[in-house]
């Protein structure tokens, strides 16, 4: 049997590292960190548990920072020069998913931007593998009076799943009424935290920025609740894939534009009209006239998973694209994938073939997410 090899050199650790080891996690290198890929329960059980109850994820490897300026107008203009999302019109406490773009309209990273309650302070969360480059890029483009402060002394813990809100309210009653995609500072189990109602699983839940020295204590308190189990990167990947969410460096990268990546929705009307984000000319042309390729969901008709890198062909065998993420969806109960196809083949239900181990296997272009999203709406 062949096995994928793993190596561990000088890896960084998160404040929860000792806890992962104590919990029996299998640790693997990820984005320069020694991270838990799974716990003894296994990827499948962890995935299903998150969809049924609540899962706790260590995402402390991600990059956190404050962007501060004299007022919201100044600081939002500073970041809007680098992203196509509407940051100016965010209400205090609201979160925006947006993209750092290069001059060609390619995606340098995807990130979350929160307008905090404090005027002139934005809270940024970026991907682990990109964080050094992202923060350097942002700093290089800041106007006078706006500064980036990395929060390297903060951990990030996600609690995700249909029971997340019920559990979290025991430690932070204020979080219960929080709407999805909002963030606010609050005390969680007596600790000063920045709590975002957001996530990467398609489920309701929170992402909690906590001082590193308090992180293990908070994680242990949450894990002591009957509904909560620790979840590794393996299940995090299958959960986000089922939710149709992009993994940076795989489903989107510097060579894909937001239009190709099916992320045009992240560009507001005002930003399109102002056309003042990096790569605007290329991106607006693609919005108006179409892009050559598009990111789509793919549902294999058989049982064989199609992994990243699998070639996609049309019925005649002509290559029309490639799978960028693929595997088994535990909640779907079968293989799922996403990838890029020529725009002419991007409509839902288009029949394609996935070349797995030299054999074309029928699949259909499918709408994403593959599972229903269950985000918390206000008033519910």
């Amino acid at each position: 049997m062949s096995e994928p090899a793993a190596t561990a050199d000088t890896l960084k650790t998160t404040p929860l590292h000792a806890l992962h080891v104590e919990l029996g996690a299998k640790m693997v290198p990820f984005a320069g960190y020694d991270m838990p890929v799974q716990y003894p329960a296994g990827v499948l059980a962890e995935h299903l548990h998150t969809r049924e109850a609540a899962g706790l994820f260590d995402v402390s490897h991600m990059g956190q920072a404050f962007l501060t300026g004299p007022d919201h107008a100044t600081v939002s203009a500073a970041i809007e020069a680098l992203v196509p999302g509407d940051i100016r019109e965010l209400e205090p406490g609201a979160i925006r998913y947006t993209l750092l773009l290069n001059e060609k309209g390619g995606i340098l990273d995807d990130l979350m931007v929160t307008r905090t309650a404090k005027d002139g302070v934005l809270f940024l969360v970026v991907n682990a593998a990109c964080k050094d480059a992202d923060f350097a890029h942002i700093e290089n483009h800041l106007p006078k009076g706006v500064a980036l402060t990395r929060l390297a002394d903060r951990a990030l813990i996600a609690l995700q799943g249909p029971k997340a809100a019920e559990v979290f309210a025991r430690f932070a009653p204020d979080a219960a009424t929080q709407a999805f995609m909002t963030g606010k500072e609050m005390s969680v189990a007596g600790l000063p935290c920045m709590v975002s109602r957001s996530g990467y699983t398609g489920e309701d839940g929170y992402e909690v920025s906590v001082p590193e020295g308090d992180a293990a204590a908070l994680a242990k308190k949450l894990l002591a609740e009957a509904e909560v189990k620790p979840i590794g990167l393996g299940a995090r990947d299958s959960l986000r894939l089922e939710a149709g969410l992009c993994l940076y460096g795989h489903d989107i990268d510097e060579t894909t534009t937001p239009v190709e990546g099916a992320l045009t929705w992240t560009i507001s009307k005002r930003r399109r009209e102002e056309a003042n984000f990096p790569g605007a000319k290329i991106i607006l042309d693609q919005i108006a006239n179409g892009a050559p390729r598009k990111r789509v969901g793919l549902l294999p008709e058989g049982k064989a998973p199609a992994r990243e890198g699998t070639e996609i062909t049309d019925a005649s065998g002509k290559k029309i694209g490639v799978v960028t993420s693929g595997g088994y969806g535990p909640s779907v109960g079968g293989p799922i994938a996403m990838g890029y196809v020529e725009t002419g083949s991007a409509k839902a239900d288009t029949g394609v073939e996935l070349m797995v181990r030299g054999k074309g296997r029928p699949a259909k272009v499918a709408a994403m997410p593959f599972v229903k999203k269950r985000f918390h709406k206000p008033g519910k």
């Binding site: 062949s2 994928p4 990827v43 059980a45 998973p305 992994r307 088994y328």
Partner: protein, 125 residues
Amino acid sequence: MSDIRFTDQHEWVRVDGDIATIGITDYAQEQLGDVVFVELPEVGKDIAAGDEAAVVESVKAASEVYSPVSGEVVDVNGDIEATPAGVNEDAMGDGWFVKLRLSNPAELDKLMDEAAYAEFVEGLQ
């Protein structure tokens, strides 16, 4: 009496007369994690020792199962095709992959016996 042999790629082969049953070891299924897909060869196919006999995919990745011995495929385990988790539940028994009619029984001599394989796995941990 049946005789079991192992490869350093974590396949096992159990021989009964001239029929060899092939599977992956308990250590292998544990390393793989939850098995979600199994692809088996056609009955009647000739497989040489060291060739790919089957594919096993866990939630994490796809792996090839190499045949420890040469022979013609006389049976495949449809149960694990339908319920791949069966490989995790009983890798050394009901979770077998294929049965071959041995064409070169001498190949068995190159494989590890139970004690040697146990020692080999011990060395990996």
